[in-house]
């Protein structure tokens, strides 16, 4: 602003000077010719005008001049200098005034700067003071910083330690208060791991904390296991729920089975509890009792339920009835086994399953659980058996079949529940009970085998043999191995066959009509033999019977032959031949004329064979076995022809000095043999 004000007067001055110079140039008009003056002036004007066009400052100056310069009069021209100077003076005065103001301002500024400087030095002073004070703080700060990073590191370590050796609040809650879920098992697993880690810690110099943590974890574990055990027991109690629900409400008489839920949690729980055998056993007891309930109600449902074919419908047929019951038990055993196996499976792949070494033994409990569960059926089974045993008179074959049925199922069910478990063992008990009944009845079946009129086995014995055949068929079809089959067979034999055999052999001596006796015994033996021979396991016994028969047959044949020879008289002749010295023709009774008479009567007998052989043949005909019948007949005729051959040879012997031997015995033994046959 100051500059602008100053510029204008300056410009004005310049313009004035120029004008002055120009004015000065035009004044000396007298010294130069007029033309040249005018020319110069014109030139001047032209140059001025041209310079005016170019020079802004000159133009400004002239414009300014125009503001106060009026008429171009002489006066005016004379006064112009004065006017201009006064104007310049005014301008200077004004400048002075303005600068005074500036000066004042500058002085003010100087004061301010001075103050500032003072303040700065003051600050500097203070800064210096503060710096000395802060230095210690800085050191402290650095130390603290170091400590902080140390602490942070430690915090990290501690939190790592805590996650590894302590439970979070959420975990603790899950373990101690919340419902049991997979988190519970994971946490329980963690507690277990922590305890294991603590064991490692005890080997370091952190024994004290190791022990403390261990104690804490044990506390958690105890509480958690107790909770788990209670929870599991409750869950196990629900396992009885696959019983049928209210069949009577249903018009169609159909039995609805509830769904049996086997939750993964329950499996995990049982797995986890295998670390605490005492608690586990309590839970297993619950399972057993729940399954017992379920099993019994299903059992009665199968027996009486309103199904199309309840088992009870077969109650009139004891073998079928007990067979159906046992088959039902077998099938239930299979299902129960699957259930228990799925409950007590240690599936290590499942999350949250404790990996304690003892869990591998979980499966070993399954047999025990099944064993106890099925015990509940023992009493019911016994009831059913008792019903049969105490009921109406039962044929003894039924006892026998029942016994074998039990043997079959003892084996079959034993394969599922374990051979030594209670139900199979009980079945063998029941079997011996039934067997006892069987042998009881069997012993009472004994028949006193006494001679019959037709010499055939008595009806009692035939009946008994029919029963024996039934029994042996059952035995043959049973699945018991050959050895025990033979054992059982020998029991039956000693109860049935042996008494008959001894009975028969004792009658031989006591009887008078011994021939009949022989035939009778042979017939009885044949019946026995026929009954026994079809069975592999009876081979030995039937051979014994066979040998016995042969013995009796020999006795019978020799008796019959003896009789025949005596009747014919040939026996006495033979005795004389045997007991005397040659020549026999001199012996009394064997003299030629006596022999001639004897031979003649013999030939008469021989030619009427029917009368001669009638009695022994009739006897033989009473033998029921065709083979033995023919055999005995042949043997008797052979005995006679043999005897004749002896007598004939004796007569023909020259040393015996029969003169007309050919006449005394004119039939050759060959002829006699043919004749007899």
């Amino acid at each position: 602003m100051v500059n602008q004000r100053n510029q204008r007067p300056l410009l004005t001055l310049d313009t004035k000077q120029k004008i002055n110079e120009n004015g000065g140039g035009s004044s000396p008009s007298t010294t130069a010719p007029q033309n040249s003056i005018i020319t110069r002036k014109v030139h001047q004007v032209v140059s001025i005008s041209s310079s005016l066009a170019e020079n802004d400052s000159l133009r400004n100056a002239l414009q300014y001049l125009g503001t106060f310069y009026g008429e171009n009069t002489v006066d005016e021209r004379r006064n112009l200098r004065g006017v201009l100077e006064s104007k310049t003076l005014d301008t200077h005065k004004e400048l002075l005034r303005e600068f005074t103001k500036v000066n004042e301002r500058l002085e003010l500024l100087d004061n301010v700067v001075g103050d500032l400087s003072k303040a700065c030095s003051l600050i500097d002073e203070q800064m210096r003071q503060h710096e000395s004070v802060t230095k210690s703080f800085l050191v402290q700060y650095n130390n603290t910083q170091q400590k902080l990073s140390d602490s942070q590191h430690r915090q990290k370590l501690i939190s790592t330690f805590l996650t590894q050796f302590q439970l979070t609040d959420a975990e603790r809650d899950a373990l101690l208060y919340h419902p049991i879920t997979q988190t519970f098992f994971r946490t329980l697993n963690k507690v277990h791991d922590i305890k294991n880690a603590c064991t490692d810690m005890l080997r370091t110099h952190q024994q004290k904390s190791g022990l403390e943590i261990m104690e804490e974890m044990s506390g958690y574990q105890d509480t958690a296991y107790e909770r788990l055990s209670r929870w599991t027991q409750e869950k196990c109690r629900l396992l009885s729920s696959d019983v049928y629900q209210d069949s009577y409400a249903d018009e169609h008489d159909e039995h609805l089975y509830g769904h049996l839920l086997v939750e993964q949690e329950l499996k995990n729980a049982l797995n986890a509890l295998s670390g605490r055998p005492v608690l586990l056993r309590c839970c297993l007891k619950e399972i057993v009792s729940a399954r017992k309930t379920a099993l019994v109600s299903k059992f009665f449902d199968a027996l009486h339920g309103g199904r199309r074919r309840p088992i009870e419908m077969a109650a009139h047929d004891p073998v079928r009835y007990i067979g159906d019951i046992l088959a039902w038990i077998h099938q239930s055993a299979a299902s129960e086994r699957e259930l228990v196996d799925s409950l007590l499976s240690n599936d290590e792949s499942e999350p949250g399953t404790p990996t304690s070494s003892s869990s591998s033994s979980l499966q070993s409990y399954s047999f025990g659980v099944l064993d106890e569960t099925f015990q509940v059926l023992n009493a019911h089974l016994k009831d059913k058996i008792d019903q049969i045993l105490n009921g109406e008179r039962v044929d003894m074959i039924v006892y026998f079949r029942l016994g074998h049925l039990m043997e079959l199922y003892r084996f079959t069910i034993g394969k599922l529940l374990g051979m030594n478990s209670s139900l199979p063992c009980y079945l063998s008990e029941l079997r011996s009970m039934v067997d006892h009944c069987f042998y009881d009845v069997l012993q009472k079946q004994q028949v006193v085998v006494s001679l019959t009129l037709n010499l055939k086995p008595p009806n009692d014995m035939v009946d008994l043999m029919h029963k024996l055949t039934d029994i042996l068929n059952t035995l043959n079809q049973s699945m018991v191995p050959q050895e025990s089959r033979e054992q059982e067979f020998s029991n039956i034999i000693s109860a049935v066959v042996d008494p008959i055999l001894s009975n028969l052999s004792s009658t031989i001596t006591s009887q008078e009509n011994i021939s009949d006796m022989y035939v009778f015994i042979v017939n009885c033996h044949a019946l026995l033999h026929n009954t026994l021979s079809p069975y592999d396991f009876a081979t030995k016994k039937s051979e014994v019977v066979m040998a016995e028969t042969d013995k009796i047959m020999e006795q019978f044949i020799s008796f019959q032959s003896d009789q025949l020879l005596t009747n014919v008289g040939i026996k006495q002749i033979l005795d004389l031949i045997k007991n005397n010295q040659k020549p026999l023709s001199a012996v009394d009774g064997l003299k030629p004329e006596q022999m001639s008479l004897f031979m003649q009567s013999l030939y008469v007998h021989l030619f009427s064979t029917s009368t001669l052989l009638l009695s022994p043949q009739q006897q033989c005909d009473k033998i029921s076995s065709t083979r033995l019948k023919v055999y005995s007949k042949n043997r008797i005729t052979t005995a006679l022809s043999d005897a004749y051959a002896q007598v004939y040879a004796c007569i023909q012997d020259l040393e015996n000095q029969y003169d007309n031997a050919k006449e005394i015995a004119f039939r050759t033994p060959q002829q006699v043999k043919i004749l007899l046959e």
Binding site: A170, E171, A174, T181, Q182, T183, R186, Y244, E254, H255, L256, Y257, H259, L260, L261, V262, E263, Q264, D301, A302, G305, R307, R308, R309, V319, R320, G323, D324, L326, A327, W328, H330, Q331, A334, S335, E338, S342, S345, P351, L405, L408, Y409, F411, T412, N476, Q477, M479
Partner: protein, 207 residues
Amino acid sequence: MSGAHEYIFKYIIIGDMGVGKSCLLHQFTDQKFMTDCPHTIGVEFGTRVIEIANKHIKLQIWDTAGQERFRAVTRSYYRGAAGALMVYDITRRQTFHHLASWLTDARNLTNPHTIIMLIGNKLDLAEQREVSFEEASRFAQENGLIYMETSAKTGENVERSFIETATKIYQNIESGVLDPNSVESGIQVTTTLIEPAREQQQSGCSC
């Protein structure tokens, strides 16, 4: 999760001695052929879980002894079977002739909805065949049975026969013909509750 299944179907395998009942069962449950299969004593059983319509179904299969002397015992096992596989040997005509008697037993002792499948076994010995496919097929048709020829030795059609029977049973349940909750249906509904999603969620929250 082999134990997870929604249904249990009870099957029974019947037929003459030596037609390969036990071998069929073994081929199905173990995918193996037993070369020296001993005679079955009484009744044995096997299980396998199969999948039908995204449902896990456990087949509980009762394999009966074919010997006549066990007939009285095996009859006790027909009760409550959902499916019956009636097996004969295509190389022994005699076993085919006995089917009528087996069928009578099966019809009398099971419930009316029991699916009975006729199986001609020993397809691997087809060159010794004594019963033609057509003849058996006619027999099956006359008696309303499903029919299939299998080989327990090579495994041909074994799986199919068990699964086809199960599919029929399942269809019967679906269509309401068969009430799975009734005992005599031979079906048990056993929901084994496993909900992994739920578990994961919960564990996510607590950690």
